[in-house]
Symmetry: none
Subunit: 194 residues, 4 copies
Amino acid sequence: MPRSPSENERIRQLAKDKILEAAMDLFIQQGYHATSINDVAKQAEISKGLLYNYFSGKEGLLAAMVEERIAGVAEVIEKAASLQAPAEQLKFIVEQAIDNVYQQPEVFRFYLHLQTQPEADQELFPYSKRLVEEAARQFEIQCSIFESIGVPEPRKRSLYFSSTLQGIMLMISTYPQHFPIDEVKEQMLKEFCP
Amino acid sequence: MPRSPSENERIRQLAKDKILEAAMDLFIQQGYHATSINDVAKQAEISKGLLYNYFSGKEGLLAAMVEERIAGVAEVIEKAASLQAPAEQLKFIVEQAIDNVYQQPEVFRFYLHLQTQPEADQELFPYSKRLVEEAARQFEIQCSIFESIGVPEPRKRSLYFSSTLQGIMLMISTYPQHFPIDEVKEQMLKEFCP
Amino acid sequence: MPRSPSENERIRQLAKDKILEAAMDLFIQQGYHATSINDVAKQAEISKGLLYNYFSGKEGLLAAMVEERIAGVAEVIEKAASLQAPAEQLKFIVEQAIDNVYQQPEVFRFYLHLQTQPEADQELFPYSKRLVEEAARQFEIQCSIFESIGVPEPRKRSLYFSSTLQGIMLMISTYPQHFPIDEVKEQMLKEFCP
Amino acid sequence: MPRSPSENERIRQLAKDKILEAAMDLFIQQGYHATSINDVAKQAEISKGLLYNYFSGKEGLLAAMVEERIAGVAEVIEKAASLQAPAEQLKFIVEQAIDNVYQQPEVFRFYLHLQTQPEADQELFPYSKRLVEEAARQFEIQCSIFESIGVPEPRKRSLYFSSTLQGIMLMISTYPQHFPIDEVKEQMLKEFCP
DNA sequence: CATGAATGAGTGTTCATTCAT
DNA sequence: TATGAATGAACACTCATTCAT
């Protein structure tokens, strides 16, 4: 007797999640190129063939990771947007960003690595582009926060803010042990959230 | 008549340079993985076999690139150090860094990409590490500049300075068209070079 | 209330027919290798697993197709044999053969393709052999028609007849648009049915 | 010291020939699908990788075979065309065709098998098409022979001629043991070369 | 010094078949 | 009876590296 469709759906979702999690683990730990489909299947404790029932291939796994990442970042921005005071919004963004990188520097590293893929890499640049375009979209939202604060040149201020935040995240992910995150948070807030 | 030893050496150096230049071009344009040894040999107009006379292999090319990069960055720092006023030194660093990224965003992109290699990538992480360690060394020099200025917590100030500068470089390399480099230079100088 | 055994049998037969029809469609359109079991199951609107209840696998489907084909060809020969005059018999064979190919050139193509499978193809040659052996059997019947006409060397005449007819069928299936079937029918009849 | 370019060319040609011969042997014996690249490499006594230095892949081998086949057929037609009397030309074509099939029935079988590939087989149909188009071109030449003989409807006569010849070739390749080739040759010549 | 023919381990992917439900 | 999730062997192809010349 066949399984009920909903039961099947549950099984599919479980397997898909297990596979994607395995892929994320390995891609983030070792990188995309150093991880073989075999590795992913073993880590997920499934057969190589099954992986292709759920994902279109190695690139499909990366694509899924990227979408999840984008959703995660968007969520932070939306939560921030739901706060009342613009200063609170910025504070939230800064703290979330820094905390996330601090807790999982390899994750930020991975997506930054992907984002910095050379443009002529035909296989992987599309994912870089996707990340950058999405970041640009979120930058627009950030701009509107600065507008509502009433700073003189909100776009430029926002750009400087992003640069600083990105730089800090990069430094944290590079020197995760030695970075005084609390003080840096404070400095950023002092400068941008008056 | 056999060539003189020094003439031989000169020829060797020329060939080596041509190969390395070809590798740099291609690695930076398309990335390390998307570039084959064949591509490099063709671009350098030499045979595949000869490449192995001059470099230990694909990794050897990357290693040479990294060393050259490190030397280039060190040179900037040294030039800065040779200036009199600490404020001039910082100004020089900021302007050089920003100008370099602005003129060749792909180059910065490439080395940042390499630097963000996952730690468990056994093939490439050593080069990431090498870059990071060298950057740490140069950070120390930067610290001493801030010390000589007499700011309260020079290490932390220097860290914040580096973060901001790195962030700006990352943003420029990501959005090379739209970045108001002159204004950002100004902002940084206003903030850090009193 | 359980279904009656005969009702069950009828349902089985319907399902089997639906599957076989799907397989025939796809094999004939795209070929055996280019068609996957998945394709067949989807086309038949059943599950992959169920297919294996009715057929022993992909080869089983082909085997069933071959048997059906053989039965179809035998039927034509038998119908021909039921006619009175030998000349009428040959005429019937010629017209049936040519009309069938003309109406469904892909079908003839498919079985000719199968028949020309290399002998050392362990998977598919048995079906080629089966077709050829059956054709040989029908050739014997054809021979007896020529015998009854009273032509001098009936086997050789029959062989020449078959060759010509096969050649015409091949040409029709190769150039289905441009073949003057009516004239060719006439020519064959003029030559072989005095 | 490097080999001279001409020496290299010689080596390349030898290897290429050896590989193509191995592929032809195996494809013709076992068929395209039943033959793996590994098989070809082993038969040619070279490594799998080397094969890709000379051919673009499995399909490339088939393409090379098809071109060679086309050239071979064209050569026969050209030789025929160089004869004086049209009747001699037809005789030459008939005898060459029949002798070739008789001596190597598997070869004719293979190309007929390829020619009868279903049109929707995206991988292999192009080669089928190539063969058919070339055959059409040679058919035109044949037509002109019948024209110069002065038969009433040369195109139709030529079509019937081709059909008969193709049918005989098919029959020979199907029953290579039992086919009375000499008598059949005679019959064809009697019918078409007055 | 210089060449490029040759190698072979490694990789992503497909698909007929099985089996728990 | 019927489903489709799961398997794993097989395959085409790539590419860094070696080495005879």
